[in-house]
């Protein structure tokens, strides 16, 4: 994915644009050091305060994974994704502050802990040592897949006598609602032992997203830029299509009209 970041205020000409390839699974403020450095070279120090990003007038929440933001806001537009960078007028009412890399780490770990609270009553993550937590974060920060998964695989296990996690960590996002996301308790396995599907989840917690049997498809249900089949077992999706924070971040977007 290519991002062109155009600076909105005082810089013009070729210096006003920077192209970046951003990882879907990371966070804006974690991967945009180059952006800060680039614009700091061409701007006066006094004009620079906290960096923030915006797309078509919408401030971008740095604490959402980049891939989620793209799917939700820009997937129907042509690449590159034109994001505007700001160094002034931080929108206090809309965005969390991101004072340092530590804040991103704290947020990431907080999401992981919440995911494990749902999957394992926090038992697996609490049994880990601090160095294991650190390894998860460093693996994400430095794009080290093996380093990350050496620890993360433990969070994907479940007791032999069960058929899955206790509850599935998921969040469903739609731009049409005031509510930022839907998150509820949902078990991966039904009482009769059948595995619940993505379709079952949507019917239960977001029925408006799914078209009626005979109706026309109104929405796309997107994870990581693809539309998994609604028959896919939720347990499988949770193990294989979660973001690094162990959540399934699901976007419901209007079906694009070609």
């Amino acid at each position: 994915m290519i991002v062109v970041e155009k600076f909105g205020h005082l810089v013009t000409g070729t210096q006003a644009y920077i192209h970046l390839l951003l990882p879907r699974v990371s966070y804006l403020t974690l991967v945009t050091d180059k952006v800060k450095k680039h614009f700091q070279k061409v701007m006066r120090q006094e004009d620079i305060s906290e960096i923030w990003f915006e797309y078509e007038g919408t401030p971008l929440k740095w604490h959402y994974p980049i891939g989620l933001l793209f799917d939700l806001l820009a997937s129907s537009s042509a690449l590159p994704w034109n994001i505007t960078v700001h160094f002034k007028s931080f929108p206090e009412k809309d965005l969390l502050h991101c004072p340092s890399k530590d804040a991103i780490e704290a947020h990431f770990m907080s999401c992981m802990k919440e995911a494990d609270a749902l999957k394992h009553k926090s038992q697996v993550i609490n049994e880990m040592q601090k160095k294991d937590h650190k390894q998860l974060w460093m693996g994400l920060q430095n794009d080290r897949f093996d380093q990350f998964w050496a620890i993360n695989r433990k969070l994907m296990e479940y007791p032999a006598e069960e058929n899955g996690f206790r509850y599935i960590p998921f969040r469903i996002y739609q731009t049409t609602t005031e509510r930022p996301f839907i998150q509820k308790l949902f078990r991966p396995v039904a009482a009769d032992g059948q595995l619940h599907t993505l379709g079952d989840l949507l019917k239960e917690v977001c029925p408006s997203a799914v078209a009626p049997e005979d109706g026309e498809k109104k929405n796309q249900v997107m994870i990581h830029g693809i539309e998994p089949m609604l028959e896919t077992p939720l347990q499988w999706l949770s193990e294989h299509l979660s973001y690094p924070d162990n959540f399934l971040h699901i976007s419901i977007i209007p079906q694009p009209t070609d």
Partner: protein, 220 residues
């Protein structure tokens, strides 16, 4: 078999309803707000405070199982209206907003709050921290809270400060176990809020404890 005490969402809502009933009786301004899609809601209270006044003048601890002290009538906790100050400068007035939400992930209530000047300028985490009474600062740094952090409000989508919920059971379990032992009914929300509230300038008049009625069922 879990040792920790959790509450389900229905119990949470029931406890909040009881809490708000008493709030209405004493003119405290707690309200229940429904989410736009009406699928859930939260308790909300707004109050105004003059900056630089100590946020809590009476750091009261509220423990269950104690009989009411005869002196409790003499304690007048700060009410919503600042009756003592004459015409404070508008710039010094701070609006505090407290929201009590339910976390289905941790199955406990969570306290969200934010503060701003009347012109809309929000207080920073540093400002908030300065308003916390000294005795709570030490305790806060020791836990069982994982300090105050800024997070997205799950229903409104706006930045709020939060006391992290993951250790709530550490302090609620002994309270609930003790109340069962002495066979006293407990409103989970009242107990919980009386513990976490004062840390961030939110005080509960003692009458909330007495309000827990005889026919209220125990926490599930």
């Amino acid at each position: 078999m879990e040792e920790d005490e959790f509450i389900g969402e229905k119990t949470f809502q029931r406890c909040c309803a009881e809490f708000i009933k008493h709030s209405q009786q004493i003119g405290d301004s707690w309200e229940w707000k429904l989410s736009k899609d009406c699928s859930d809601g939260y308790m909300c209270k707004i109050h105004f405070q003059i900056k630089n006044e100590p946020v809590m003048s009476h750091p009261e601890t509220f423990t269950h199982g104690q009989t009411c002290l005869p002196m409790e009538e003499a304690f007048e906790l700060p009410s919503d209206d600042c009756e003592v100050i004459e015409a404070p400068a508008a710039s010094q007035v701070i609006k505090y907003e407290y929201h009590v939400l339910y976390s289905c992930s941790y199955q406990v209530p969570v306290l969200y709050f934010r503060a701003s000047f009347l012109d809309g300028r929000p207080l920073t985490l540093k400002d908030i921290w300065e308003g916390v009474h000294e005795c709570y600062k030490t305790r806060l740094l020791q836990g069982p809270w994982d300090t105050i952090t800024q997070q997205e409000h799950p229903i409104l989508g706006q930045p709020f400060f939060v006391l992290h919920p993951c250790k709530t059971n550490e302090f609620m379990t002994p309270v609930l176990k003790n109340s069962r032992k002495i066979n006293k009914n407990v409103n989970y929300i009242t107990s919980w809020l009386s513990i976490v509230g004062p840390v961030v300038g939110l005080n509960l008049p003692l009458s909330y404890a007495k309000a827990t009625s005889q026919d209220e069922r125990n926490v599930d």
